[in-house]
């Protein structure tokens, strides 16, 4: 429910803060409609299309309608996948409009008590604090390793959860231990000649729950000839806050990250999660009206996805090999639509001997994960996922590669739902590349340069 008073406040702030030029920039040609997953899956409802959402936002600004539940519903239903942006010839920056609108609604709406508490814990208590995330991850680790998980499963307690949540428990990666999480490298030297000096943005979840992916990333960077620095004062990128209507928090986090990286004198700041990378690359937009604008710009310019830097350093021309298998790639929406990286991951995958790459239909369409969308909008999310899995199955791939942790979990969920566990796996591209490097002997060779040369001379 939105009360009349909240509605008035929201409307007034829409009028004060929404970018009217950007809203007017939409000429309502409808070219974005066929790419919008929620438009398609809602059975072609204009209110769940980008053109419709922009019209609603503009109508609130124009005072034509009030920001009622239906308007909120339409905005909530949006995945924020931003597939509507690259196809928009007018160049409407829909993502920015959405973010602003959500922020205004969230800041003016009094959520039910429980939701308020949860939002506070998540946005203020957990994500800005790496130590607490580590603690939480260790608790999950304890749950997984202590036998508690087996007990829960045996008692059938998971059945008490909605089906997709119960499955989520299943697909969480085996998390690292407390000790592992606290013992992170600060600097790494390149294998062979140094070609670049880069900083690594570890991300909050990536450096706890998905630590293995981070380790693989750093290893690949070393293999490709990068000196890697990992500043320990970096924090969560703030994407979750930005997309969740907590822009102020997001800005604070952005500033802390800019401080952590700007003095490092590196060629690039490397990311391995499309969701984080896309948010970092738009820090300049986030802080555009701030004293920090210039520093934010300099920071954003340096952001580069791992796949891109690997291709730049010709990693795809080194010998890479895996056991024979069919591979397909699911784009990370934000990597593709915001960071504009679509080719590099494919180039890398196609370069691996033994991996037969098959493009799936609509690989660029969102998988329905979309941050916490699959938890807050399960019905639509699962509908979108089912479509995705149908396409994935068509390719007969046994390995589905993605480039973002959210997508990875969603693909795993999809595999579970289809009953394909054991036959099909989902992996992050860096883990797959590392696997190929190991398989082709690249890693051992390089890791033991001393032994090698000793062996050769003797």
């Amino acid at each position: 429910m939105i009360t009349a008073k909240e509605r008035a406040a929201i409307q007034q702030q829409f009028q004060a803060n929404m970018n009217e030029d950007e809203l007017m920039n939409c000429m309502r040609c409808g070219f974005c409609l066929p790419t919008c997953p929620t438009y398609i899956e809602s059975g072609l409802q204009e209110s769940h299309s980008p053109r419709g959402r922009i019209a609603l936002m503009k109508a609130v600004v124009d005072g034509l309608i009030e920001p009622d539940e239906d308007v909120e519903r339409s905005l909530n239903m949006c995945l924020g996948c931003r597939a509507c942006e690259p196809v928009c010839p007018s160049g409407v920056r829909y993502g920015h409009l959405l973010e602003e609108a959500r922020d205004i609604i969230a800041q003016n709406k009094r959520y039910p008590f429980l939701v308020r508490i949860i939002r506070k814990i998540v946005f203020n208590g957990l994500f800005p604090r790496q130590d607490r995330l580590r603690l939480l991850t260790s608790l999950i680790g304890f749950y997984q390793r202590s036998g508690l998980r087996t007990l829960v499963q045996r008692l059938g307690l998971l059945k008490l959860l909605p089906r997709h949540l119960a499955m989520m428990e299943h697909i969480l990666p085996e998390v690292p231990t407390w000790k592992e999480m606290n013992d992170r490298p600060k600097q790494l030297t390149p294998h062979g000649i140094k070609k670049r000096r880069v900083a690594f943005f570890t991300g909050c979840l990536m450096d706890t729950m998905f630590m293995k992916t981070n380790d693989a990333t750093m290893k690949l960077l070393q293999l490709a000839g990068c000196e890697v620095v990992i500043p320990s004062n970096q924090v969560c990128c703030g994407a979750l806050h930005g997309h969740g209507g907590e822009k102020k928090q997001a800005k604070e986090l952005a500033k802390r990250n800019i401080e952590a990286f700007e003095q490092l004198d590196v060629d690039y700041i490397i990311t391995n999660a499309g969701g984080c990378g896309a948010f970092l690359v738009e820090y300049d937009h986030l802080l555009k009206d701030d004293d920090w604008a210039e520093r934010a710009k300099a920071f954003a310019r340096k952001i580069k996805d791992i796949s891109e830097v690997l291709v730049e350093l010709n990693f795809h021309q080194t010998k890479l090999k895996v056991k024979p298998q069919v591979v397909t790639y699911q784009d990370s929406c934000h990597l593709r639509n915001v960071m504009k990286v679509a080719n590099a991951p494919r180039l890398l995958l196609q370069a691996i001997e033994g991996a037969e790459f098959r493009e799936m239909k609509d690989a660029d369409r969102c998988c329905g994960s979309a941050g916490i969308y699959n938890i807050v909008e399960p019905e639509m999310s699962m509908q979108i996922l089912d479509y995705k899995m149908t396409q994935a199955k068509q390719t007969k791939a046994t390995t589905i590669v993605t480039a973002n942790p959210g997508c990875l979990l969603q693909m795993k969920l999809g595999i579970e739902r289809e009953g394909l566990a054991g036959q099909v796996r989902a992996v992050h591209i860096v883990e797959f590349l590392l696997e190929a490097a190991v398989e082709s002997g690249l890693l051992e060779e390089r890791e033991k340069p001393m032994n090698e040369s000793v062996r050769k001379t003797s």
């Binding site: 299309s49 034509l64 309608i65």
Partner: protein
């Protein structure tokens, strides 16, 4: 901006009757639900309907129409709302009918070379489906990836292939139509020849939803041409480009496509598409020819010579992917121009092909005279240009000048033997000055047809026929 439609046209009883027909999930009268059907791609027009209804079949359409006719409730049939003449803006409120359920391809008849579809089928989906069978449906409006066949038929849309293959009209063979009294009629058939009675099929084509609702259409197909070649001719002189157009046709060559883009248009299109379009030339022609290999080779060679005589440099697309990128870029021209300024005013003036150079020249002179920026692109081979003005409705002074400039462009088009709209239709936008083109007697004859088929005026009211002649051309106040 026109804002209307808040009135209560639909009583609770009528609402219940309508819900009885389509089910409550297909009847929406929420504010947000109505707002998103209050506009189309035409700038400066917005007006709320009273309800949005999604019928599932012809019977439901007929039942809805009967109720609306009885209660004098306006009906606005709507495809994807991409028209550029305020054709689906519910200026008098009422019901917006959408065809999201009626979007099936019913039959591809490979023996008679026809395809039968429901009105909600997306143009591009249809084109792809028939091409899989080696068949060809030529009308390809730039909006084809989202426009519907129902919309195409009712606007008689043209496209990039219009020069050689004609427009939508040339492919409509038979229609199923729900009339304003709820009767269902069928016109035409899968027949190559048919003179039994008036040609109703043609009457409904281009009728903009003002005579009836199309619920099914049978369209003509032709064999898919064997090969195709694509070429770009680059000019440092606008009028030389326009002259080439007339010359190519005077040389008895009819290319499939002959599209014109001027420099400002090229710049924005390249900004969006990033395919390496030249932006340092004054104009380009996008030229395509299809057909048997030898013919295509011969024609393209001759066309290249003609262009070179006009000092053009020519580039041939090296692959189908490259050719497709060029076509897609051209199709994005209008929306891409919209990125320049908040408001984009687009026109649709059409002149005989032989007059195209004069028209281009006049547009530029008029733009200079009124100090407004006008970018021009369009189906040059059809004599159909889209002079487009990026502006801002909030700038009153500039809007006045834009208004004057377009008035002069229209006058010029008519003077050259042209028309006020080549393909975008009349709708609510051009209704006030249809008389310029038709004359009083012409309008009266059309009104008589309308009166006969829709005596209560419920079918898309406020379109084509103006309540009074309005003086303004592009700017509504």
């Amino acid at each position: 901006m026109e804002k209307k439609g808040w009135g209560k046209l639909i009583t609770e009883t009528v609402k219940q009757q309508l819900i009885q027909i389509v089910g409550c999930e297909n009847y929406d009268d929420s504010k947000a639900g109505r707002l998103v059907y209050s506009y189309d791609a035409t700038p400066q027009f917005q007006s709320l309907p009273d309800a949005v209804i999604a019928p599932r079949n012809t019977k439901e359409v007929a039942d809805i129409v009967k109720i609306c006719n009885e209660h004098r409730i306006p009906i606005v049939p709507r495809g994807s709302g991409t028209n550029l003449c305020a054709g689906t803006c519910p200026v008098e409120g009422g019901v917006v009918l959408i065809f999201k359920h009626m979007n099936k391809i019913l039959e591809i008849d490979e023996e008679n070379l026809t395809v039968t579809v429901q009105p909600g089928v997306i143009t591009l989906d249809l084109i792809k489906a028939v091409e899989e069978k080696g068949l060809f449906y030529p009308p390809d409006p730039s909006s084809m990836k989202i426009s519907t066949i129902g919309g195409n038929i009712n606007e008689n849309s043209g496209g990039l292939r219009g020069l050689k293959y004609g427009v939508t009209r040339d492919y409509v063979m038979a229609l199923e139509v729900v009339l304003a009294n709820g009767e269902v009629i069928r016109t035409g058939g899968k027949l190559a020849k048919d003179v039994a009675g008036y040609d109703f099929t043609r009457l409904f084509v281009g009728s903009e939803g003002t005579l009836g609702i199309i619920t099914e259409a049978t369209l003509k197909l032709i064999p898919l041409p064997e090969t195709k070649q694509t070429m770009l001719a680059l000019y440092q002189d606008l009028e030389a480009a326009a002259r080439s157009v007339s010359k190519i046709i005077a040389n008895k060559i009819i290319p499939t496509t002959l599209e014109f883009l001027d420099q400002p248009t090229l710049e924005v299109v390249e900004d969006y598409a990033r395919i390496g379009l030249p932006t340092d030339v004054k104009a380009v022609l996008l030229i395509e020819q299809d057909g048997p290999h030898e013919v295509v080779e011969r024609d393209m060679k001759r066309i290249a010579e003609i262009c070179q005589e006009e000092e053009a440099t020519v580039q041939i697309a090296r692959s189908e992917a490259e050719a497709d990128a060029l076509r897609t870029a051209r199709r994005s021209a209008l929306s891409a121009l919209a990125r320049l300024k908040p408001t984009t005013i687009l026109e649709d003036a059409t002149v005989p092909r032989s007059e195209i150079a004069k028209m281009v020249k006049a547009i530029n002179e008029i733009a200079a005279k009124y100090h407004v920026k006008i970018c021009t692109f369009g189906h040059a081979g059809d004599g159909n240009l889209h002079p487009t003005c990026p502006t801002d409705v909030r700038d009153r002074d500039e809007m006045e000048r834009v208004e004057k400039a377009f008035e002069e462009i229209f006058a010029k088009a008519i003077e050259l033997g042209g028309t006020i709209t080549g393909e975008h239709g009349v709708g609510a936008m051009k209704a006030p000055y249809l008389e310029w083109k038709l004359g009083k007697a012409g309008i009266e004859a059309m009104k008589a047809v309308k009166q006969a088929l829709d005596p209560n005026g419920i079918m898309n009211p406020g379109k084509i026929f103006a309540k009074s002649e309005r003086k303004r051309v592009v700017v509504t106040r």
